[in-house]
Subunit: 299 residues, 2 copies
Amino acid sequence: MPRLIECVPNISEGRRKDVVDAVVAALRPSGVRVLDVQSDKDHNRSVLTLAGDETSLEAGVLALFEAAVARIDLRSHSGEHPRMGAVDVVPFVPIEGATMKDCVALARHVGAQVAERFRVPIFLYEEAATAPHRRNLEDIRRGEFEGLGAKMQDPLWRPDMGPEAPHPSAGATVMGARMPLIAYNINLNTPDVEVAKRIAKAIRFSSGGYRFVKAMGLLLEERKVAQVSINMTDFKRTPLHRVFETVRAEAARYGVSVIGSEIVGLVPAEALIDAADHFLRLERFDPTQVLERRLREEG
Amino acid sequence: MPRLIECVPNISEGRRKDVVDAVVAALRPSGVRVLDVQSDKDHNRSVLTLAGDETSLEAGVLALFEAAVARIDLRSHSGEHPRMGAVDVVPFVPIEGATMKDCVALARHVGAQVAERFRVPIFLYEEAATAPHRRNLEDIRRGEFEGLGAKMQDPLWRPDMGPEAPHPSAGATVMGARMPLIAYNINLNTPDVEVAKRIAKAIRFSSGGYRFVKAMGLLLEERKVAQVSINMTDFKRTPLHRVFETVRAEAARYGVSVIGSEIVGLVPAEALIDAADHFLRLERFDPTQVLERRLREEG
């Protein structure tokens, strides 16, 4: 099977389309496949979804840095989403024929070159983190670009690679390796956002819930629907169906039902197949029974 | 996207491993991909799952006939599964980049060559059928090899191609085009096979059930578990989850529950993803959100 790694760079530009286009154009000659580009004006941020092997991703990510660092200046950047770098976060994700270990090695290898060539400090996170307090993106990014110079003077927050101070316009980058992330929202038949907030609290890791769930409650203003907005950070160990069923049970406690759920962006087929396996109560189902997978393996 | 057609020849040999191996070896040089070979001793039958484009499948199926007709003699064949040919059934199935119409054309083209080269009569079935009474495999095969000579004297049962009488040792072959078939069994917490038979009757097309369901009730002797054994002949129009839920509801009427279900052999990812979509109540889910599919399309 060909080695396939996903890479999801987040860049701090979601308004100037010409800048986003230039960054994407810069990385295309590397041979990486550009699966998705989503720009958000409110967040002033774009999320790129790339796929390739180690060689093409290394070339692609370096080209992306070259284009983004030249065009994005955080000193004049504002948006709703927290950020500390022109290229803010670069996770590598094992998909097929590559392991998490391969992705950690790739993050270290590419990070070292970025630090060297562009003088951008690199913080390694998640599976590539060098200390427990540096695993979590939110902890690394707390204080954002504006607080980064002061934060980096704390020995706990020295970068893993590159200069000891932020790049003047491009800040610093968080790079690492993680499981595929699934953005999964569950909608409730109530406009009461408090119900969604309580359910979010019940299921998220940080307040005692599932190990690989981040969640918050919010209100979809137009639909007048409360939503539990979830990031599933390891769908193999905390699966979609378990979170869905738990939200359903917690909602019932408030006399509320689940209207529906939604997946934002891309999802690995395996996450949905695992859900089908659960609800259909499949006995002895083996993922190699999936026709498309058999075809890829034999190919 | 490359054109991809699946072909699932059923041959009437499930006991002599050397014969099955020789048939598989004969078709390999054609370049078709052999995804699966399952031999059943009780049925005395093997099911091959092949994949390729029109050119490689044409060469592969002709090589399979050459090897099988030389080695399998139905005059000395017995098994639990009904059969009328050494190569009993050859369906072509559109998977990706090919339509049902392409598969019908391929069945006619390959069938004509088999009839010509091996003097084996061909009956076209399912989407390739030339008359409504000849769509259904069971109707064509009723009477089996032993009754075939007499049956073919009826003008209604003249073959579509080839000699007007069966091949002396290889009988006749049913060839055609159909949707992917999913072999799907649902197990009940009762040893009472009558319950499974009644549920099968409730869900199958022939007795008033779903359009694309064939089903029968049987007893798993070792487990003492009654099973509804189902063939899903078009999972897009009669989906897995609907059949599962209907069996669950019908079983409840007898005070019986569903223990589990099982998929035998290969299943298209889409069939399971559709089930996840249903049970997770996904809103606006688009199959192009599946990462692996996006990769194939961009590839």
